[in-house]
């Protein structure tokens, strides 16, 4: 990144810092988390190729949004990992951290596969219309309009199906019972 760009980015960041903080506070519901994420955003944006100056505001917002979802994803992963072993902790008490590290790749692969099976079965259990709409839109990548056409329903009908799907999937996939 050229020095001019870095300077431009700094200006951009200064200009929008307050807006971004307000957004992140609303997005996370926690002022401390918002500050943390803003810090991380700034570090990333300064890396070479981190952020273009053109349409920089939207870019910074999108980056902030992605960092929030990264955190959610990590929280979800941790929750699943904890839950997975918690009921057998006594059996595995002999495991050292080292032993777990050796198998970390394998564990990640297994977690990934388990998660796939979990999501697939959650999708399989959706009500018929919601399942088809979800499958076409989220897995096959069709737009709402294309899904509407294939199912012979209105676009708002597709949106309703998707909302029903989200409601079910939330319970099946995301209920970690914590904050």
């Amino acid at each position: 990144m050229a020095p001019d760009d870095a300077h431009g980015l700094e200006t951009l960041y200064r200009t929008y810092r307050a807006d971004l903080l307000r957004f992140l506070t609303a997005r996370t519901g926690d002022a401390g988390d918002a500050e943390d994420i803003l810090q991380e955003l700034w570090i990333r944006a300064r890396q070479p190729g981190g952020a273009p100056i053109a349409n920089g505001r939207a870019y910074l917002y999108r980056m902030a949004q992605n960092l929030v979802v990264d955190r959610l994803r990590e929280q979800h992963r941790r929750m699943r990992r904890d839950r997975r072993w918690s009921d057998e902790r006594t059996d595995f008490a002999a495991n050292t951290d080292e032993a777990v590290d050796v198998g970390a790749d394998a564990e990640a692969a297994i977690l990934h596969r388990e998660e796939t099976a979990l999501i697939a079965s959650a999708i399989g259990n959706l009500p018929e219309g919601a399942r088809r709409a979800f499958q076409m839109h989220k897995i096959d990548g069709l737009s709402h309009a294309e899904v509407a056409e294939r199912l012979g329903i209105s676009k708002s009908g597709v949106e309703k199906h998707m909302a029903v799907a989200m409601k079910y999937l939330r319970r099946a996939l995301l209920d970690w019972g914590g904050g």
Partner: protein
């Protein structure tokens, strides 16, 4: 979080509308912020939409496999069906979701405990093992992808063309031979019963395999290891036998998961162990019991998953 379970569909619809709207370059981030500030439930609804989107996105390729329906004209071969028939298929509940692949790709998929024979017009005959998926790319029968599971290839020699099968970043090419491929976790296994195949990956010169050789490629480690295999043991699952020679337990577990339709989870403490021996497939339900007996392992079935750990000391 009882309040959360009452999340209504209207909020989710709003959240999804924002999720779509924010993809645009001139998205109204201020309006979105105001929406978030208006009600803390808006943030929670958006979390659901964004995290679901992320989860599905990360698994999209695998989900295509699991949610792909076998084409309606699928032939359920009598004897083979008997061989593996009646296996409770945890993953099969997802089957029936229509497969909509990018235009031109033809997908052959099997459920847990189900096998399938595919005859391609180019003279290749392929046996697809349970819970496996083979893609013919854009109608080109010489360009295939093994997207999951295991398959046995019997390819007629034809000097005019070479068949290539992609799997996990590797390309397996041959001109006329019999060989098997198995995707097991991070590992790709290629074993040759007859003829020669070449196994290449980006940036590496291809490894040549001859009849009686087996290659284990680990994409995550960037390693390839070649060992011997009896020609009879190549694709032996077709005769209802799973043959292992010093195989990582994770590979054995991946196979058992495909035949039994249950997720097999290994305790980290035993993942480094290896297995040599023969397991009889039967209806898929006894595989783990047999393995556990031979290796002094303990396993607990919990619904759709089986946890495997070292033998009980009690």
């Amino acid at each position: 979080m009882t309040a959360r379970s009452d999340m209504d569909e209207r909020l989710l619809e709003e959240a999804m509308a924002w999720h779509v709207a924010l993809e645009s370059d001139d998205a109204d981030w201020d309006g979105y912020t105001l929406w978030l500030e208006a009600d803390p439930r808006h943030r929670e609804a958006f979390d659901v939409v964004a995290l679901t989107d992320r989860l599905v996105g990360e698994h999209r390729d695998d989900l295509r496999l699991l949610t792909a329906a076998p084409p309606p004209q699928v032939r359920r071969g009598g004897r083979r069906q008997m061989l593996f028939g009646g296996v409770a298929a945890a993953l099969a509940l997802a089957i029936g979701i229509p497969a909509l692949m990018p235009k031109g790709d033809t997908v052959y998929a099997t459920g847990a405990g189900e096998t399938r024979r595919i005859a391609l017009g180019n003279g290749a005959a392929i046996d697809l093992a349970p819970a496996s998926r083979l893609v013919v790319k854009e109608g080109d029968e010489n360009d295939l992808e093994l997207a999951g599971g295991e398959a046995y290839f019997d390819v007629r020699h034809d000097p005019a063309r070479a068949l290539t099968i992609h799997a996990q970043g590797y390309a397996v090419s041959d001109i006329g031979t019999r060989f098997a491929m198995n995707l097991a976790g991070p590992a790709l296994l290629v074993s040759v019963a007859e003829g020669h195949v070449a196994v290449g990956s980006a940036g590496n010169s291809p490894a040549n395999l001859a009849a009686g050789q087996k290659l284990v490629a680990r994409g995550d480690e960037g390693t390839m290891r070649i060992s011997r295999i009896a020609a009879n043991d190549v694709g032996s699952w077709r005769q209802g036998r799973l043959v292992y020679d010093d195989a990582p337990l994770s590979v054995v577990a991946a196979d058992i998961a495909r035949y039994s339709g249950k997720a097999v989870v290994l305790d980290p403490a035993i993942r480094a162990r290896r297995f040599s021996g023969v397991l009889s497939v039967g209806d898929g339900s006894k595989l783990l019991a047999d393995l556990a007996a031979v290796m002094a392992l303990r396993y607990d079935v919990q619904g759709d998953r089986i946890r495997v750990s070292a033998g009980a000391s009690r």
